[in-house]
Symmetry: C2
Subunit: 217 residues, 2 copies
DNA sequence: CGCTAACCTAGAACAAGTTTCAGGATTCAC
DNA sequence: GTGAATCCTGAAACTTGTTCTAGGTTAGCG
């Protein structure tokens, strides 16, 4: 990878160096539209045939964009799929927000939330395959994007816990471990090495950590 | 992937169909030697430059084997790297067996063991990168091999727990969750999104599950 | 309106994983 | 020791991710 990745199209700004790294540049309307077309095509192809079916040439063609342009928006296939995951997660987060779990107890609520997310993925296993494989295959060059996904997941879990105050460090550790378990369990399920029932048990098991680490007042 | 994978070279057996799926066929001495040369070359290249540096053509050349032969032994790059991981894990298991952890309490022993394994990987981060990326990228066609790795990991953890009797289902769940955490934490470390300290905390956090699920007699 | 920088397109070119094929080398059965 | 089955080799071909190039297009700006 000779060229350093440029997370987003560098919009009209200065000469050539990246002058404003964080705001990630406001896209024009047409650019935003292109970006969405690309993400849509990506998800569509993924739903069909999983990771392998998301072929860059096809994505470009489906979204009416030149191959070079696709690479300008997403510097690699993994970047593209991780961005697709961000997209899907955001939708899921919104959905969960509208219908929060009603169980009693933080652990039960988190487990219920994760299982709900799980069932959503179950409905589109190929899409899940593409996204999760990409996420786990990502190398350092995708860290920022992967990190965003991670923060989204954390937010979903913290939401489900329904905390009153700031989470303690112990709770954050528990949440991280839950995330680890979630990702890894997803993989074992996707590769057919674990059943849904198994995943459910693992999720419920790890959610016990929430109680173990609950602050005693 | 038009051709169904054949986990190992199909040794002289019948006409063409796989008549004896499980025993995986005894290899002749020269074949065993080839296999080892290949695995050695794979690990060597991986140590140098991680996943990307393990190029099938190079592996073939380094191990003095034709490309086609390499593919007969390992039907894909991922198969090869997962097999490499099996190899390394076996060595590690043997080492751990000779120097078991001396901490008091199952949870502490497991955590200590995993951190020791972790430090071993830390010494060859590129090799770790190659193996772990492969493991997590593996699709269904590699399930048997990935499962072997999983069983090896489970064995290491159970060993560290030093159980007297058969593990209860709850304990097995806890072990699975620990494995999930281990794998996922490894990834976050490899991709530079978590520090060693963070990994240590996560491992120790998840190991609390061992106590939570310990059978009360 | 016309300039200019940045963007986009079409298409070739390159890289590495994987497959295929023709022929030589091994190995087992007899 | 001969033959058949299998294995191994060397090399080319194919696939798909990624890069590069030349030229047309768009958007802000004087």
């Amino acid at each position: 990878m000779p060229t350093p990745p440029q997370p987003r199209p560098k919009p009209r700004s200065g000469a050539g160096a990246l002058p404003d790294p964080s705001p990630a540049a406001p896209l024009t309307e047409r650019q935003e539209a292109r970006r969405r077309r690309i993400l849509h095509a990506s998800a569509q192809l993924a739903r069909r045939g999983g990771f392998d079916a998301v072929q860059m040439r096809e994505v470009a063609e489906s979204s009416n964009v030149a191959l070079g342009t696709l690479y300008r928006y997403f510097p690699s296939k993994v970047h593209l799929l991780v961005a697709t995951m961000q997209d899907q997660l955001q939708q899921m987060h919104a959905t969960l927000h509208k219908h929060p779990p009603e169980d009693t107890g933080a652990a039960a609520r988190v487990a219920a939330t994760l299982m709900r997310a799980f069932r959503a993925l179950q409905r589109e296993p190929q899409l899940a395959d593409a996204m999760v494989r990409a996420l786990n295959f990502a190398d350092r060059s995708v860290s920022p994007e992967v990190d965003t996904v991670s923060r989204l997941t954390t937010a979903i879990i913290l939401d489900a816990m329904g905390l009153q105050d700031q989470p303690t460090p112990e709770q954050l550790s528990a949440v991280r471990v839950i995330e680890h378990t979630w990702h890894s369990a997803l993989i074992t399920w996707l590769s057919g090495r674990a059943s849904i029932a198994q995943v459910k048990i693992d999720i419920e098991t790890v959610c016990q950590l929430i109680e173990v680490t609950a602050p005693r007042d």
